[in-house]
């Protein structure tokens, strides 16, 4: 196990390094454009351009520029925005992180519970109208752009039916911190949670259903049946347990990607000032230092999440450790 952990952590560090180089290259070495002009933002004057060149060491060789960038991001943590004069970037990211975490955690709870139920019911009623209906509902969820769904939810809950008893509780768009008012936090996030969860409910219900159906053709399930266990017990204790393996590893990846910025569109539509919204706002005025920081933060989060999933996996399933 120790060997596996070491190997996995080493590869994690390697991937992180590669990603940081990739991000650096995208922003600093894309052919045809002067990086200083990009970092300084739209219509920057010569003075600012000179400052940027000095600040980021743009007259120095590439590796030095890379090292400077990393130092600003992780060691001195004093990366400064030039568009938004003097604003420090890293504190903005750490301030936004709880919002994103609240959004993704809540949505994850909803999508796991609902999709497990949906997948189970569809597998039990395999081939019937119930199965077809559930799977079509799942597909529809997968097919809608999440930001559009969010707008539709806003249209219904904030405007058209806001005064009906169904949606009169919905607060105006925005985020209420959990520490300030737990109920307000819940109210402000319930609709964003559901919106974000819809896509994943569709995906996970389909994955779980196929895994369950495949499991039901396995020998150990036949053995369980032959032992005279009830059908429900076979399904939940035997088939579901192994089917959850694919589910769990998928969950790790998606959760990481969402916290890392995948929730951006939902945050924008619902006016939640999380990391994604921060990225979006910086996109609007091309504030590159902020975009670089959020992208780097996000990618690292995903890599760490993947490593954690792999380690958990190896802990659960000894066969993985050897491979």
């Amino acid at each position: 196990m120790t060997a596996f952990v070491t190997r996995r952590l080493a590869s994690m560090v390697l991937v992180m390094f590669a990603i940081s180089v990739l991000v650096f290259l995208i922003f600093f070495a894309t052919p045809g454009v002067d990086p200083a002009a990009r970092i300084a933002g739209r219509n920057a004057d010569q003075q600012t351009l000179r400052e940027v060149r000095k600040d980021f060491g743009l007259d120095k060789p590439m590796p030095v520029q890379y090292a400077l960038m990393m130092k600003k991001l992780f060691i001195s943590r004093d990366l400064t925005s030039f568009v938004n004069r003097g604003a420090k970037v890293i504190p903005q990211v750490t301030q936004a992180a709880p919002v994103t975490l609240s959004l993704v955690l809540g949505a994850a709870v909803i999508w796991v519970v609902v999709s497990v139920l949906m997948g189970l019911v569809a597998a039990v009623f395999r081939g019937t109208a119930i199965d077809t209906t559930l799977m079509i509902l799942g597909l529809i969820g997968i097919s809608m752009p999440v930001f559009w769904l969010g707008e539709v939810v806003n249209l219904i809950s904030q405007s058209r039916f806001h005064h009906s008893f169904l949606f009169s509780w919905v607060p105006p768009l925005g985020y209420t911190p959990l520490t300030k008012s737990p109920l307000g936090w819940f109210k402000s996030l319930l609709l964003p949670w559901l919106t974000l969860a819809v896509l994943y409910i569709g995906i996970y219900a389909r994955v779980l259903r196929s895994a369950l159906i495949e499991a039901q053709e396995q020998d150990y399930v036949r053995t369980a049946r032959a032992k005279g266990l009830t059908e429900r017990r076979v399904l939940v204790r035997h088939a579901l347990r192994t089917s959850m393996i694919a589910f769990v590893s998928l969950f790790g990846l998606d959760f990481g990607a969402l916290v890392g910025g995948g929730a951006l569109l939902t945050e924008v539509v619902f006016g939640l000032h999380g990391v994604g919204k921060l990225t979006f706002d910086s996109l609007q005025n091309l504030d590159l230092p902020v975009i670089m920081a959020t992208v780097m933060y996000a990618a690292f989060f995903v890599v760490v999440a993947n490593a954690v999933v792999d380690l958990l996996y190896a802990w659960l399933d000894p066969r993985v450790r050897i491979g």
Partner: protein
């Protein structure tokens, strides 16, 4: 591929009567027999034809230029001439609201956007861009992924090591963030590599960005397949016969990974169209004055509570198209590999 297959009695198709038919013919028959998938093909054909007919509709039916703002224009509703941008009657009385849907195909069927442009025409033109981007990006992804997967899986060793690590890095990157980084950098000035210059407003930019971002999704399964194919007897036999590397790749390996790539293709179009709409919604996809379904949703955001149809219509168009593609993708997968019917997860 020329003989016609008529629906006929389904029971006969799997019977000895079809012995000798090639796997492709069998797959095609299975697909043609799949009513749901065929309905979706019909839906897609209608959407594509409607979008192709965009100029016809704009010039000969609606008589508008959907790319020029038309704030002072007028149109006809119930035989009366009315301005397109209407004074707000209620509220503070400030500003104007574009005309809502008239449900009259000749006069602002779906109303106007905040520039006074005809939403119905823009929807059709936008659909063209969304479809072009979706299809070309998916095609590009599949081609790139096949090449990368073939090379990595076949040559193994250090080549595989480098390519696989590269795929891992792109894979670890959240898709939207990678696309956002590339778009922000490229959309300001375009891309210039040697003699090639991509204009910032060119559709090729979002196409190549979306295509590159999804390469690992297809390349990894292709590589896996090539790895297992290389161990198979017929490949060893070909090597024993002295076949060249090129011949092995082209005639022995490639035909056997084609099905995998074909199964991915419609699903990739669906994912690419969703990604395009998201990037355009974030204003880093298709650039104005061009339209796509994503940019129209963005246009409609400011009008969401007053003229919701501007944002609703393109969203419905995306959802219907993507749904049709997903269902068709499932159908193609079932047709090519009937045993996978209950196995493979769809829609990713």
């Amino acid at each position: 591929m020329s003989e016609t297959v008529v629906g006929g009695a389904p029971a006969q198709l799997a019977a000895p009567g079809s012995a000798g038919a090639s796997p492709w013919t069998l797959a095609r028959r299975r697909l043609l027999r799949n009513r749901v998938a065929m309905t979706m093909v019909g839906v897609l054909v209608v959407i594509v034809v409607a979008c192709l007919a965009a100029p016809l509709y704009a010039h000969h039916v609606a008589h508008t230029d959907p790319f020029r703002s038309n704030l002072d224009g007028t149109t006809i509703v119930n035989g009366k001439t009315v301005p397109i941008m209407q004074e707000e009657s209620g509220g503070l009385g400030l500003g104007v609201t574009p005309i809502g849907p008239t449900w009259d195909l000749r006069h602002y069927f779906l109303g106007a956007d905040d520039q006074g442009r005809d939403v119905a025409s823009r929807l059709l033109y936008g659909g063209r861009n969304s479809l072009i981007i979706g299809v070309s990006a998916a095609l590009l992804t599949c081609i790139l992924a096949t090449i990368v997967g073939l090379v990595a899986g076949f040559f193994g060793g250090i080549v595989d090591g480098i390519l696989s690590r590269l795929l891992d890095v792109v894979w670890a990157f959240p898709v939207y963030l990678l696309a956002i980084s590339l778009s922000t950098v490229l959309l300001t000035r375009g891309l210039r590599i040697g003699p090639f210059h991509l204009e910032a407003g060119s559709l090729l930019l979002p196409i190549s960005i979306i295509a590159v971002v999804y390469v690992p999704y297809v390349a990894r399964p292709v590589r896996g397949e090539v790895l297992s194919l290389r161990q198979r007897e017929f490949v060893e036999a070909a090597i024993g016969l002295g076949a060249s590397t090129w011949r092995l790749l082209w005639s022995d390996i490639l035909p056997n990974v084609t099905t995998t790539v074909i199964v991915f293709f419609p699903l990739m179009i669906a994912i690419d169209m969703l990604t395009e709409s998201a990037l355009s919604f974030l204003s880093i996809g298709v650039q104005p004055p061009s339209a796509s379904w994503g940019t129209i949703i963005l246009d409609g955001q400011g009008l969401l509570y007053t003229r919701p149809v501007v944002a609703l219509a393109p969203g419905i168009a995306i959802a219907v198209t993507v749904l049709a593609l997903n269902v068709l993708g499932d159908g193609i997968r079932d047709a090519l590999d009937p045993r996978a019917k209950h196995r493979a997860p769809g829609g990713r």
